[in-house]
Symmetry: C2
Amino acid sequence: MKDFHPSGTLLDFEKGCAIDFSLKNGLSETVETGKRYLSQMKSMFADDAAYEAELKNGDKLVYEFHGLPVPETAGDLMYGCSIVYPGKVGSEYHMTKGHFHTILETAEVYYCIRGQGYMLLENPEGDWRAIGMEPGKAVYVPKRYAHRSINVGQDEPLITFFVFRADAGHDYGTIETKGYRKLLVEQNGEPAVIDNPKWK
Amino acid sequence: MKDFHPSGTLLDFEKGCAIDFSLKNGLSETVETGKRYLSQMKSMFADDAAYEAELKNGDKLVYEFHGLPVPETAGDLMYGCSIVYPGKVGSEYHMTKGHFHTILETAEVYYCIRGQGYMLLENPEGDWRAIGMEPGKAVYVPKRYAHRSINVGQDEPLITFFVFRADAGHDYGTIETKGYRKLLVEQNGEPAVIDNPKWK
């Protein structure tokens, strides 16, 4: 598809641009992803022994996601794909670290384009939800809720297209320190929610 | 996919929810669309005679889109699918009316999931672009730019998943009164950009 541009560069968030995000694998030929390997997720899974054993088998890629050079203003939007690869650590499914927005009062939208999973939500007061995701489901992450994507599929990546206010920022520290109140684990071959024994 | 909700209703933008938007046709089983028929687009196409002739063949659906009951705050996000059906009025392709945001300094993201088309952008100072859309392309509509989706395909709908700040608002009046400076028309079987003879 030929563009009609009077001027412009590839990543022009001032005058408009298009970026490719594959509907099949979530990756872009234009923009690199940030990658999270198992070694970067120490103590985030409940079962530390299973984590160490898994790590000895190799430092697998757990998830990746795009970060674009969008101006970080309240009128701009950050977007891209998040790709969580299938697998488990003990009985716990592969997941993203999860985070609050630094500006807590900002929402986020995730549109699932491939895979099977959950969005785990939790606010500072302890209200929580685990919302099912499958292709064609758009999950609304409300203001004030930490959010984590979890792949419960057997062999497919969980791919979501996300959009949030570009000035929202990421607060990873709260989850890294306190953890989530709930976990998504496999029980009798099915996803189940349990209390997190490590929650502080 | 079974949800794990401690409470909640289907359209709960305060505590989180999931809404279906089909990756095949853009429609939702949960949420109705607003519909724009040809009769509602009088004088928006350049060729008034072709428009009147077309209308005599029946009042066809030109496009539809979702409007959700998201709280209209700066921390919330509006989202849904836009579906532009294939066709032309004279040599001009089917398109949305196009609009500015009432809060001009707010951007929008469109992720194309099906079809072939263009996003036509124009700011009040006259800078413009027509950016090609095809499945997997995410178009960034910058702050201050009017935006219109145009389907240049032969027989497929143009389907995009859109997200913007929920307080942004729609200013349709400026485009309805002044028009766009540029039009997308078919010339020798190819999309081409021409000056709008009706532009004021």
